[in-house]
């Protein structure tokens, strides 16, 4: 159920903060176990980072497929209330019950929106498309993506006050665009709080010697997902950013900032498999392209090993043991030279490629935006496991995880929330 008519104060068994795959899962699993749940998402639509992912390893299946089922579960379940553009401003209480204060930022488009697109057509203002990492633009009134839920337009708040937006508003036959919409705050009483605010890619610009931001053909693994996606800036055609030319030789730089005392001392657990998966994107479009993966250890746990074995069957996919220290751009061609020390042979190698993909790691959003209630964190900002204190962490705020593990973790978090809600409700009765 989407936010049609949200009251200023409400109560539910469980509040889930974050509407990515972990938050959606925690909310759904708890709701389908009979609890009332409020799912609060900061962005204009659900889906989080999986919505921006092209395919999952090892099946190479589209995340939209699982999102569709989860959205169907949400639509069918009256026990879930979804809030978008929602920010938890305050949370108090403890075992026995919490009170949350949630600010709903204006969408500038009300529930009369039918997603017909007339406003977008009439809109003359553009914005950088953050969903595609700024690789293209959308109109200032836009549909977040094809799988967006709620399936409704939104106005970029930076442009809501632009007088030119009035034309877009006037184009709506339903009176849905409301450029003077105000934020509102609601209070929520809940028995338990699940925190699933997810992760962001490590800032590649901090990896000074790898050239991100200086050289256009150095991209991150997250950008690569958009470049390969049907709904991405190139409609799924993989080309290098500087000149939109096809790929002949691609380099993947593993542990770009990861397992590195100066950056992220931990391993992000998914990047090896993600790069092998992205190698299949390249291969599907360029049967003859050379692909070079530079790694320290190839980490493919469990039956993911099969995926690694399969990658090694590709005769033009080369695994090099060694960490890339420096990337330089070749003048004129804008090709890139990856310098690495091969730790097996000791030799210093230089490999020229036309595009380099940095496998940057996952930074928990809790590192910058600390969860409330003095929730214990580890030294990297992940929610520490099993402390029983503060909010209940779910998904990549607890440790770097792939999607399936994130879903397992979120299901476990839903279990914890059920127990806490049961305790709270017992306390309320006493």
């Amino acid at each position: 159920m989407a936010e049609q008519k949200i009251a200023d104060s409400m109560s539910a068994d469980i509040l889930v903060v974050g509407g990515g795959i972990a938050g959606m899962t925690a909310a759904l699993e708890a709701a389908e176990a009979g609890k009332t749940v409020v799912l609060s998402e900061a962005k204009p639509s659900l889906g989080g980072r999986v919505a921006a992912t092209n395919q999952y390893f090892p099946k190479l299946c589209p995340p939209s497929c699982g999102i569709e089922i989860n959205l169907r579960r949400i639509k069918a379940n009256p026990s879930i209330t979804v809030l978008t553009l929602a920010e938890v401003e305050g949370l108090s209480g403890g075992r026995g019950g919490h009170e949350a204060r949630i600010k709903l930022h204006p969408r500038f488009v009300n529930e009369k929106c039918t997603a017909c697109g007339d406003c977008e057509k009439a809109c003359e203002v553009e914005r950088d498309n953050d969903f595609n990492f700024g690789l293209d633009k959308t109109k200032a009134v836009y549909l977040p993506h094809l799988m967006a839920y709620p399936f409704r337009y939104v106005v970029d708040p930076k442009h809501a006050g632009d007088p030119r937006m009035k034309k877009a508003a006037a184009a709506c036959a339903y009176g849905a665009v409301e450029l003077d919409m105000k934020p509102r705050t609601l209070t929520l009483k809940v028995g338990a709080v699940v925190w699933a605010t997810g992760w962001k890619p490590y800032d590649a610009a901090k990896l000074d010697r790898l050239g991100f931001g200086r050289y256009r053909n150095v991209v991150t693994n997250s950008m690569m997902e958009r470049l390969a996606s049907q709904s991405g800036p190139t409609g799924g055609k993989l080309v290098r950013p500087s000149d939109q030319v096809g790929l002949k030789k691609v380099g993947f730089v593993q542990c770009a900032g990861s397992r590195d005392e100066k950056h992220l001392p931990y391993c992000s657990a998914v990047c090896c498999l993600a790069s092998m998966k992205q190698a299949t994107y390249v291969r599907a479009q360029y049967p003859d392209a050379e692909i070079h993966i530079f790694y320290i250890d190839v980490r493919a746990p469990g039956r993911m090993e099969d995926f690694y074995v399969k990658a090694q069957e590709d005769k033009k996919l080369f695994f090099h043991r060694g960490k890339v220290g420096t990337i330089t751009e070749v003048e004129g061609s804008r090709n890139l030279v990856l310098e690495a020390e091969n730790t097996l042979t000791g030799e210093l190698t230089k490999t020229e490629v036309d595009m380099a993909v940095l496998a940057v790691g996952m930074v928990p959003n809790t590192a910058d935006e600390k969860p409330p209630l003095d929730t214990p964190l580890d030294e990297f900002g992940f929610i520490a496991p099993d402390t029983g204190k503060g909010v209940i962490g779910a998904g990549t705020v607890t440790r770097p995880l792939d999607v399936a593990s994130s879903v397992v973790d979120a299901t476990g978090a839903a279990m914890r929330a059920l127990i806490a809600a049961a305790e709270a409700s017992a306390a309320g009765r006493n």
């Binding site: 579960r73 017909c116 980490r299 469990g302 730790t343 397992v408 476990g412």
Partner: protein, 748 residues
């Protein structure tokens, strides 16, 4: 109650500009719809209220909403359990993707309306199958995963029956002296905490513990499973609603590790043996009891190896790091060597790796083991190639520890005699799932370990996925299971460490609770969570062909000795594969049945041959293909207007009779669009798209009988993101049909 249909037409979002709404209303009236109305914006409050008024005032109980896709604004057009609503998608599916103000587009929309009427006339609101059920959870296995599952469910207020085959609870965790650090700062081994957990479980009033007991037999269905627990010849019967299978793992058979020196000397041991020795006291050299001075750990001994365990057991690297520290602590003078393929210490465990690597007495290198042999002096030499030093190294060790992998308890290692015939059948992905014959699965389960001893027609235990693990194939749904109400957790599901096992058990407990709650309301569990419909069988017409009992992806149908299906509605996932399988058309849901679809097909108006208006019918999967079509519409990708669409619960629920109905009725061609099949199948019902493909054989037979060309039926796989391919698929098929020519049955 008499049915009364109301058809409500929306003119918004470009529909009114594309279609002649008055003509559409007339088509509805001609189809005998008593209440027919249009509205400028049907999803507005006024629009929705006008429908509600007719329900309350005019006795309308079947609503046809001729507007946008059922995927948008579902809550607006739900009018309670007694009112059946059908969403006719003329927005994304007509106005946004077909030529406006065009005769063919108008005919498409009118057919959509007639099909909706046929659907509503021939179906009824679902009535749940509700029986008295148990909400207790049976947990099989009391290791870390099982204990955590039991404790979690009990804390949430559910009764739990916990069965453990050993005489004490705790599993492997209770046999290890210390475990890899589970939390910050991830540097020093710590206690597993299992003793406290065992105590909590044993003293919890909601948990009944059965030690030294096994499950001799499990009969029934979710909500009313009857498990016979056997202990020393005495059987106790318990009734439970759902089951968590947490039967754990066993070490890979070390006797097969001769290549890594196992058996060459008592001083070559496995990592599990190391734990046993560590639990007993100081680590000494097994052959002579002397202190160790040089210990070599060989990683992946029998793992990541096509001849042994092809997979990675995920924990062995960290276990060896922990054991290395243990040696160093007890024997500060000893040198420890760890030779690995890739050192796998994911996530924050990298900190533990860094801490061990700091230890000057621990030497870590990548390398391939070339030879392990016992030297004349009794030491064991380990020779490794391709090391980080760029040269071969030979370590002379007085203790060699083989990091052996984990095998799920659900897997039976074939003995030497059985190996020839049986190898691969338990877990071979090439064989499993590729057949439409449920017998293969039954066989596969027969060859697996018997733990639950289900009395299911399709086998005694959870079907395994690969390498004997009863894991889920779905990344988004890792607890998805092919036996409703039975959830695998912990190392039996996939190789994992204790912390992950605990988390996995917690999640499985939630799924088990969710299942008993849904079942108690007569509702389906994932992926059609909440669906209240269920299949009913008109047994008088059953010919005992056994197709339904063999093809049900979830083993929900048993059989009597004549082969008549014995339905277990509480096991059912509502995919409709049985409905698709049945040649006698005896399987029906209240809101989805063979007759309903046949009538929808009949509702399509077939123009005369000389009008050159081919008619194509497309059966599409409503899980993925339907969404993909919507997205094509949102993107305004244009396609031809000759195609009539009937969404199905799963392409596996397509009954071949519909294809003959369509062709015999003059429809020129039939498209079947479903999810990907094969090893990386995307079908939410596991075998639906594969079964549809298999049934194409029957369809081809039907074509032959009708003396029609094979090209008139095509099957396609379409991922949800393949929206850009849709116009091409539709237009190419239309070309094919034009080439083949009109269906000769048209004018009959």
């Amino acid at each position: 109650m008499e049915t009364k249909i109301g058809a409500y037409f929306c003119k918004g979002c470009g529909i009114g500009g594309c279609l002649d709404i008055d003509k559409l209303l007339k088509a509805a009236t001609a189809a005998k719809v008593p209440v027919v109305k249009s509205h400028d914006i049907l999803c507005s409050q006024a629009g929705v209220d006008s429908i509600k008024a007719d329900i309350a005032g005019a006795g309308v109980n079947r609503v046809s909403v001729v507007a946008c896709s059922p995927r948008v604004f579902p809550e607006l057009f739900e009018f309670g359990k007694d009112v059946l609503t059908d969403r006719v998608n003329v927005r994304e599916g007509v106005a946004w993707c077909c030529k406006p103000n065009d005769e063919d587009t108008q005919m498409l929309a009118e057919d959509c309306v007639r099909m909706s009427v046929a659907r509503l006339v021939n179906s009824a609101p679902a009535e749940p199958f509700v029986e008295e059920t148990s909400k207790a959870v049976l947990v099989v296995g009391a290791g870390m995963a099982g204990l955590t599952a039991a404790k979690s469910a009990a804390q949430a207020g559910y009764k739990v029956v916990l069965v453990e085959k050993e005489e004490r609870l705790g599993g492997w965790a209770s046999k290890f002296s210390k475990v890899v650090p589970k939390g910050p700062v991830y540097r020093e081994p710590e206690d597993s905490g299992v003793e406290a957990l065992v105590q909590e479980v044993e003293s919890h009033p909601n948990i009944k513990v059965h030690k030294g007991a096994t499950v001799a037999k499990t009969v029934g269905q979710p909500g009313k499973f009857m498990a016979a627990l056997e202990k020393g010849g005495v059987t106790t019967e318990v009734t439970v609603g759902s089951i968590v299978l947490a039967s754990g793992w066993k070490p890979y058979d070390a006797s097969k590790l001769g290549r890594w020196g196992y058996g060459a000397s008592p001083d070559v041991i496995t990592n599990v043996r190391f734990e046993e020795l560590a639990a007993k006291g100081r680590i000494m050299r097994p052959s002579d009891g002397k202190p160790v001075t040089s210990v070599a750990f060989i990683q992946c001994a029998g793992s990541r190896d096509a001849e042994h365990l092809p997979y990675c057991s995920a924990v062995c690297c960290r276990v060896s790091l922990k054991q290395a520290l243990h040696v160093r602590r007890e024997h500060p003078e000893a040198k420890v060597y760890i030779i690995y393929k890739d050192l796998r210490s994911p996530a924050q465990y990298e900190r533990f790796y860094a801490r061990v690597a700091e230890d000057e007495g621990v030497f870590l290198t990548k390398g391939e083991i070339a030879e392990v042999k016992k030297e004349a002096d009794g030491l064991i030499s380990v020779r490794a190639e391709k090391t980080l030093l760029g040269e071969d190294i030979t370590v002379r060790a007085d203790l060699v520890v083989l990091a052996t992998g984990m095998v799920p308890s659900t897997k039976v290692e074939p003995g030497p005699a059985a190996a020839e015939g049986a190898a691969g059948k338990t877990c071979d992905p090439e064989k499993e799932g590729k057949t439409a014959d449920g017998k293969k699965e039954a066989e596969s389960a027969e060859l697996g370990a018997k733990i639950l001893n289900l009395t299911y027609r399709q086998g005694t235990d959870l079907p395994t996925l690969k390498y004997g693990f009863p894991d889920s194939h779905f990344i988004c749904f890792p607890y998805e299971t092919r036996r409703t109400g039975i959830y695998a957790a912990g190392a039996v599901r996939a190789p994992m460490d204790l912390a992950s096992g605990a988390g996995d058990g917690r999640g499985a407990a939630l799924k088990a609770i969710q299942c008993v709650e849904a079942i108690s309301r007569g509702a389906a569990v994932h992926p059609r969570a909440g669906d209240l419909s269920y299949p009913e069988f008109f047994m008088q017409r059953c010919t005992q062909c056994k197709r339904c009992t063999e093809e049900c992806p979830f083993g929900s149908l048993d059989e009597d000795n004549k082969g008549t299906p014995l339905p277990n509605p509480l096991r059912c996932r509502r995919c409709g594969v049985c409905l698709g399988a049945c040649p006698e058309r005896i399987v029906s849901f209240k809101n989805f049945n063979v007759n309903m679809v046949s009538k929808m097909i009949k509702a399509i108006e077939v123009p005369e041959e000389d009008e050159d208006k081919p008619r194509i019918l497309a059966f599409i999967c409503e899980n993925d293909a339907l969404a993909s079509l919507d997205m094509a519409g949102v993107m305004r990708l244009q396609r031809n207007a000759m195609i009539r669409i009937i969404p199905l619960r799963c392409l596996g629920s397509m009954n071949a009779v519909w294809v003959s109905d369509a062709l015999a009725g003059g429809i020129d061609g039939v498209l079947l669009i479903g999810c990907k099949k094969g090893d990386d199948y995307q079908c939410h019902f596991i075998r639906g798209s594969e079964l549809a493909d298999y049934r194409m054989g029957n369809v081809k037979e039907k074509l032959k009988q009708l003396v029609l060309e094979e090209e008139r039926v095509e099957i396609h796989e379409l991922a949800i993101t393949d929206y850009r391919r849709i116009p091409e698929i539709f237009d190419k098929f239309l070309e094919t049909i034009r080439r083949v020519g009109p269906n000769p049955y048209k004018d009959m």
